[in-house]
């Protein structure tokens, strides 16, 4: 296996991008990454696109070919592949690109992710998100994605004494980080009371506990480490990639207050990278709901089970805290255009590890971790990045 570097990153603003189509979003992000990497289009050997459900959001399947066509890569007949794993679609696309380069098959690969979610009414968009859960054994009986996470939250409160305020403080922290990110959907700080008093979605979760529906795209350019310095002075290395699965339906698990897939993926990530959790400076985790961030922090091992809530309230997960979590604002504030999310996490880590994050820069950042989740922990993809 060869070492793999990221030499270029690009991201559109996330949010309600009503004046941009899906293809424009994909191309904007892709071109930004290609310009950043300073590579020529004829150098690009493969394209991977993370996308959850363009077929249902905009009636367009075959989106990898679409992006290849409109970005000019189809002219060179570059292989273009769309990857889907619900919320983890973008992260798995990253993993496919990593395999390509690490295996020696290709030297330069572009990985992008995009989703256009706001062309549909809100309820229709939410129903598409629900399709990441088990349609036959969960959704048919009335479970929605927020409802499943509400059950997780209630159980976490019961087992560990986690408080409603601790869960809500995740949103406050991520909005604070989002306010420092010019690409974030929400760049506004919020108060704890705002989270607690906003419209109920599925008790105890309110509107401000849930990531929004978003449009957006993100992309990176990967290169074999041995050739990376030809293009950039600040390559960021992918130190390890891991992936784990779990049952599709939540009720088939022995516990719902922990995602075993995250724990397993973290074990593999540690083994492959040789980097201990205590060495990690920052993490982008999958906070599709506030409770999800607490689970992620405990399953990764930043905090013991039941202690992530208190740690969040104590500021240990803020920029400047013990580990800076979701410096981009996370899914909650940066936005969650599903297919783009896993790629945007990598874009944020690279920005931080290059020292280019401006007001939200984590000082002296050496190691950054990304955790991306499909469904209710049914697919978990993790990457560890480090300064080369």
């Amino acid at each position: 296996m060869r070492e793999v570097a990221i030499i270029g990153i690009g991201q559109t603003k996330f949010g309600e991008l009503w004046d941009l189509s899906f293809r424009e979003i994909g191309i904007q992000a892709g071109l930004a990454a290609v310009y950043d990497a300073n590579v020529a289009s004829e150098d690009i050997e493969a394209l991977y696109v993370g996308n959850m459900s363009a077929g249902r959001f905009i009636d367009q399947e075959h989106v990898a070919a679409l992006i290849a066509d409109y970005s000019g890569l189809a002219r060179d007949h570059v292989p273009a592949t769309r990857v889907e794993a619900a919320g983890a679609s973008g992260a798995i696309a990253i993993r496919q690109g990593y395999f390509d380069v690490a295996s020696g098959l290709h030297d330069i690969v572009v990985v992008g992710g995009a989703e256009k979610m706001t062309d549909l009414p809100d309820a229709a968009g939410a129903a598409i998100q629900d399709s990441a859960a088990d349609q036959q054994w969960e959704c048919v009986f009335g479970a929605t994605f927020p409802a499943l996470h509400a059950m997780i939250a209630r159980r976490h409160m019961l087992e560990f004494g986690t408080t409603r305020e601790q869960i809500a403080s995740v949103a406050v922290k991520n909005h604070k980080h989002g306010s420092l990110n010019p690409k974030a959907q929400f760049q506004k700080e919020i108060k704890l009371e705002t989270v607690l008093n906003s419209a109920k979605v599925a008790e105890p979760l309110t509107m401000f506990d849930c990531a929004p529906l978003s449009d957006g795209g993100a992309a990176v350019v990967m290169c074999a480490m041995e050739k990376a310095r030809k293009y950039t002075d600040s390559p960021v290395k992918i130190l390890a990639s891991s992936q784990s699965s779990d049952t599709l339906a939540l009720h088939h698990r022995r516990t719902i207050t922990s995602f075993q897939a995250t724990r397993e993926a973290m074990k593999k990530l540690t083994r492959r990278s040789g980097v201990e959790v205590s060495q990690i400076d920052l993490a982008e985790v999958h906070d599709d709901f506030t409770i999800s961030e607490l689970l992620a922090l405990e399953d990764i091992g930043f905090f013991k089970p039941g202690e992530a809530g208190k740690a969040t309230v104590d500021g240990q997960t803020q920029i400047g805290g013990r580990v800076a979590v979701n410096t981009s604002g996370g899914l909650k504030a940066r936005g969650d255009p599903i297919g783009a999310t896993g790629v945007a996490q990598i874009v944020e880590l690279v920005t931080q590890l290059r020292g280019e994050a401006g007001k939200r820069q984590v000082s002296d950042a050496k190691f950054g971790l990304a955790q991306s989740v499909g469904g209710t922990g049914s697919t978990v993809v993790m990457h560890l990045l480090g300064v080369a």
């Binding site: 309600e16 009503w18 004046d19 706001t118 009414p121 809100d122 419209a199 109920k200």
Partner: protein, 352 residues
């Protein structure tokens, strides 16, 4: 030739329902919904009321306040998105009811919520060109909101009629300016009982973009600024949107207060700006300048720069009910009665 409003009349159904009561039925926090939309109650038409009866009531009030011979009315247009007939005009019935037929041109208009103001513009042209002596422009709706949908908290009923002419005008229509693009934020296809809407898309790229562009265009054309106006009326799908657009443009709460009726009667769609303008004319004095911007989804906005004349002192406003008296004369009903009145209960054939 000066063209303006010679007379006007309004009608608001008496029944009201509160957002809390709607929310009670659907398991939503209706009170919070109402607070968020700035709607405390909405008007509900009774079972024997529709756009035709509302238009007739408004037009008859309009005629009661003037000595104009109805035979001198050469045109009548009714703007609505809830005409009772898909084919067969509302306007012909209204023309008969005010004894303005048969030597008159009549048509029904539709442009979501701004068809009534489009009718005013048409009458301005016809009167200004001398093609007709008087024209009647009506905006009225019994708007539809699907049960349980966000629209159900706002969709209401009401309308107003304006007699446009060049003699004895109580308010001069200085100029009008329109801003239109193809922006599908809200629609109802043929045969569908309830409209569809683009959720949050109905805000920034639709309402706010068109309202702002039209307001700025109207003021530019008129050479005016917000402080030149005593009153301002903005299309009001809820209480929040017009308040926000007014603030963004530099108008004060004091300027929009009189013409902002949605908090009490809901969104009367094509009736909204016409009713707001009627409420302003109910209290306006000579020399008062009025700014009005109507919005119709789909999307477009019509702007008006209006100056009240001395003639309003001779005008017999008291011959017909004021908007305020109709807002105050209300009776609250529960959701079951509302469902019955709005035909939302499935009946046995032949018993409706």
């Amino acid at each position: 030739m000066d063209v303006g409003i010679v007379s006007y009349g309004a009608y608001i159904p008496r029944y009201r329902i509160a957002p809390k009561e709607i929310g009670r039925v659907w398991g939503s926090d209706g009170e919070a919904m109402g607070k968020n939309l700035m709607i405390f109650s909405k008007s509900v038409p009774s079972p024997d009321e529709d756009v035709i009866t509302i238009s007739v009531a408004a037009a008859r009030s309009m005629m009661k306040r003037t000595d104009v011979n109805p035979r001198d009315i050469g045109a009548l247009y009714v703007g609505s998105e809830s005409h009772p007939y898909a084919v067969k005009p509302t306007g012909s019935i209204v023309a008969e009811a005010i004894e303005a037929s048969p030597e008159i041109t009549v048509a029904d208009y539709e442009f979501a919520c701004k068809a009534g103001t489009a009718a005013i513009q048409t009458c301005m042209g016809l009167v200004g060109s001398g093609m007709v002596k008087y024209g009647v422009a009506i905006g009225a709706d019994t708007s539809q909101g699907a049960p349980g949908d966000a629209l159900e908290y706002s969709a209401s009923a009401g309308g107003a009629a304006f007699l446009i002419g060049s003699e004895k005008i109580i308010a001069k229509l200085n100029l009008t300016y329109s801003y239109t693009t193809d922006t599908p934020d809200f629609w109802r296809r043929e045969g569908q009982p309830y409209p569809s809407h683009g959720g949050r898309f109905t805000g920034e790229p639709a309402y706010f973009k068109h309202m702002t562009a039209c307001a700025l265009g109207t003021m530019k054309k008129a050479g005016t600024k917000p402080t030149d106006y005593k009153y301002a009326i903005f299309h009001q799908p809820n209480g929040k949107f017009p308040s926000r657009v007014a603030k963004q443009l530099g108008f004060t709460d004091e300027q929009i207060k009189t013409g902002l009726l949605t908090p009490y009667i809901g969104n009367t769609y094509s009736g909204a700006v016409p009713l707001g303008l009627s409420a302003v004319l109910d209290e306006a004095k000579p020399g008062d300048r009025i700014f009005a911007i109507a919005y119709g989804s789909g999307a477009g906005a019509d702007g008006f720069d209006i100056i009240v004349t001395n003639e309003i002192t001779n005008y017999k406003r008291e011959n017909a009910p004021s908007v305020k008296s109709m807002i105050d004369n209300n009776k609250f009903i529960d959701y079951a009665t509302y469902a019955k009145y709005r035909g939302k209960i499935r009946m046995k054939e032949g018993t409706e």
